[in-house]
Amino acid sequence: MKRRLVAAAAALCLLTLVLAACTSSSSGAAKGKGSSTPSAALGGAFGAIPAPAAGAQHAGVITWAEPPNTAPTWILPLYTSAADSVSDTDEFSFYMWRPLYWFSNGVEPTETPSMSLAYDPVWSDNDTVATIRMRANYTWSDGTPVSSADVVFTMDEIKAAIAESAANWGPYSQGSGIPDEVASVAAPNASTVVITMKASVNPGWFLDDMLAFVDLMPAHAWAKASANGPLLNYAIAANAKKIYNFLAAASGSLSTYATNPLWKVVDGPYTLTKFTASTGAFTLTPNPSYGGPHAKTVSTFEAIPYTSDTAEFDAVRSGSVDVGYLPVDDIKQVPLVKAEGYNVFGYPGYFFNYVAYNFADKGADFNNIIAQLYVRQALAHLEDEQGYIDAFMGGAGGQAYGPVPKYPASPYTPSDATNDPYPFSVPDAIALLKSHGWTVNPGSADVCTSAGTGQGECGAGIPAGTKLAFNLVYSTSPAFIEQECTALASEAANAGIDIHLQSSNYNYIITYYDNPTSTGVPYINKWAAEDFGGYVDSTYPTTQGIFNTGGAENEGSYSDPTANSLINSSVTSGNPVAVKAEASFLTLNQPGLFQPDNDWVSVWKTNLSAPEAIWAATTQYYIDAEYMYFTG
């Protein structure tokens, strides 16, 4: 065991060194993120990215289309659960405060070490002690270098925030990771941090999913309880609490974002100079002391809010925004957009869309029906993923068969993710049902005729005469959810599965059709399947919290002992790619019906250039404007 761990640790060190060697750069001109795949070689891409333009570069004002309902409502890097549910929140604070580790590399959710604030942690003592060495090139805008004290400060503040309320830190999961499993954080010197855990953790998971969310805050400037007060010793819990309350109050005052001196102390490429709370418009100006890679001259970055996709597309059509996106409904307009002087590139995001099954719905014995794997497999056979992509996403989408999608590729993509285990085939679905004792009545409902638990029989708890009919509640936004559910219901009818569709909206579904919540308890038997979208995969894509028994986001009460043990091993075992086994199992076990990923299609003006990987990253919601420059 020990030897394997040592070998793993050595491999990790080697990997880190190799990555560091490949991407280490001197300051100045933008260097490519060497290890990302050039767009031409990317599978699943929609459109292509031109190579960065050579020749004269100059700075200007980059206007960016802010998608509707993504107006920032929180600026503090220690963001709340509420702020976390607004998709752009950490994006907004990333311009100003960098996370400890930067996990975005072109379209891939892998690390770009040159943009991380520290070298990867070195684990010891059976994966309970992580030693982190800070990188030397980052400083705060007032001159103080970014140091280990900032890491300790941030970790202490996270602890204080959680102590007040579990909802105060978005990535928090009770009993797991930071801060619940952290025994202590120490800074022996200015460039070293030692984190001691209470028990062994999986190093891959802890780095990708926990440390990567530690967005550093400046201890030397923010460790105070009032604007003109003295700096406090944040190691004392009472002080940490006062500091947190002060910072949170400042973050709650949207009208002061651009003026509060707190927010001027940054280590990222930008400082906020203008912010309009009511619309979400903001302007960022370059921070000259930024220590990471960037274009020769960094441009000002202006976010233009739009109240709807139609409004944004209108702006793109008239060429009035530099970087924007193409809404799903307007995919057919690509030639028009190109004629207006834009490049177009789309790529699936690193998330999964799915229809969640309710394994606790006792209505019409649905819980017993859906517990049968063959039923879930039959449903998977009724999904025409490529058809959905072509018809509803205009071809801008990628297939996904499990919690880890086929694209973008990541080190954690299991081999099962590359081929559909249950391809679209109505005859296969019918055969599965027939071979398990169902009489198939296409156009109306199938009936279980051979009840029992033996071979060729329906399964435990399904009496004879049970109809295969259930309701599917879906969110009406985005539009393709309704379209996919309608198409699914229509194909299912061909196999005699009677799916009754019910429209709702996202907020309603996660409030009432969510078994672990108190608001969801009265509705447990009222829904059989729901489609509210899906979840963004964490960089280390474990579905802990979603598919483990008792997980806070396990809406449908899915419970499988193998899944539980695999998820547990993803988070605690020493194998840094343990999550692959978990993803592989879930792909085959279908806790839900996994659906295609929709592309995010970015458009940007042809006179704006940057390394290819930067444009690729925009499809993953990373707008790294500090690399962009105007040409010509």
């Binding site: 139609t310 597309f313 209108d314 059509r317 409904d329 307007d330 057919k332 307009q333 025409d384 058809g387 959905y388 072509d390 018809a391 509803f392 009406t476 936004s477 539009a479 309704e482 379209q483 559910c485 309608t486 198409a487 219901a489 229509s490 194909e491 009818a493 061909n494 569709l501 019910q502 429209s503 709702s504 909206n505 309603y508």
Partner: protein
């Protein structure tokens, strides 16, 4: 020429009042056009599917958003369903909801208004205050909020709409009852010993009936419009049911793509049906309104 038609006009047999009204109605060309249009749409929506067969339940993912062409006179929508078939099916739901909600509204409203008007005094005040309260609440907002929670089916939408449209009929009926209450014929009937029920049934309601009938027609028109608004904003019926508003809400996503067949045929159906109801309603009001009739009979 002296005024021969008695005020109120019901001491004589009620029949002649109606016949006069009917004749007046048929003389109004717009009314006839409206009536014919309504009959056409009812036939189109309910009988059409027997003659024109189309598949609107099986998605055809390779033929989505196709323009008018072979096999699809009005093209297909984003699931590949035939638009003309959807128009018929959607029309059924829209007309049904329009009709049902008007019936609910009138039933509740007439009863409320009649009781309130007849009772008078404190009860009347209280009942009318309730009406005032509900009338002051912006209809669309409440309906949107409620539809969010209580899913859309034909019955539930009719109920929700009916819940908020009985207020105007209640007021109208009460007004009629109030004005009729003091008329000579009512006093005469009362002094002759008529019970309250007889008063309501034989005398008050038939006279208020003209107001009620006109109001029903306008209610149907308003309900069809209201359902289309709900559908447009995303709160209409969903697969496998649909209504006209729902069709337009799908269509607006493609406004900039030029898929006109998703928007304008449905729009035309809604406008035509509502206009027809309005024509009929206006004509009925002209025909059944006593004062106007008095003026017109003098002319001929």
């Amino acid at each position: 020429m002296s005024n021969l038609t008695p005020e109120g006009g019901e001491i004589g047999p009620v029949r002649s009042g109606w016949r006069l009204g009917l004749r007046e109605f048929m003389h109004n060309r717009l009314a006839v056009v409206g009536l014919v249009t309504l009959v056409f749409f009812v036939a189109f929506c309910f009988l059409g599917p027997f003659f024109y067969h189309s598949d609107i339940t099986t998605a055809n993912l390779t033929g989505t958003n196709a323009g008018p062409g072979a096999g699809h006179p009005l093209g297909t929508d984003d699931e590949g369903f035939d638009v003309l078939g959807e128009l018929m099916k959607g029309g059924q739901a829209s007309l049904e909801i329009g009709f049902l909600s008007a019936i609910f509204a009138i039933a509740i409203g007439a009863a409320w208004g009649a009781v309130s008007g007849l009772a008078g005094g404190l009860l009347d005040s209280a009942m009318m205050r309730v009406v005032d309260v509900l009338l002051s609440i912006p209809f669309l907002f409440i309906v949107l909020i409620v539809s969010l929670r209580y899913g859309a089916s034909i019955l539930s939408l009719s109920l929700i709409l009916g819940m908020f449209t009985w207020l105007v009929p209640a007021r109208l009926v009460r007004g009629e009852v109030l004005s009729l209450k003091t008329r000579d014929f009512v006093l005469a009937a009362r002094s002759a010993g008529a019970t309250r029920w007889r008063l309501i049934n034989r005398h008050l309601l038939p006279n208020a009936l003209s107001v009620i009938i006109v109001n029903v027609t306008f209610n149907i028109a308003d309900a069809i419009l209201a359902v289309s608004y709900l559908g447009f904003l995303g709160f209409g019926l969903h697969y496998p049911n649909l209504d006209w508003g729902d069709m337009i809400s799908d269509g607006i996503n493609y406004l900039l793509d030029g898929y006109w067949w998703l928007i304008y045929p449905v729009g035309f159906c809604i406008v035509a049906t509502v206009m027809a109801c309005n024509f009929v309603g206006d004509a009925l009001r002209d025909a059944l309104d006593v004062r106007l009739r008095r003026r017109l009979t003098r002319r001929c």
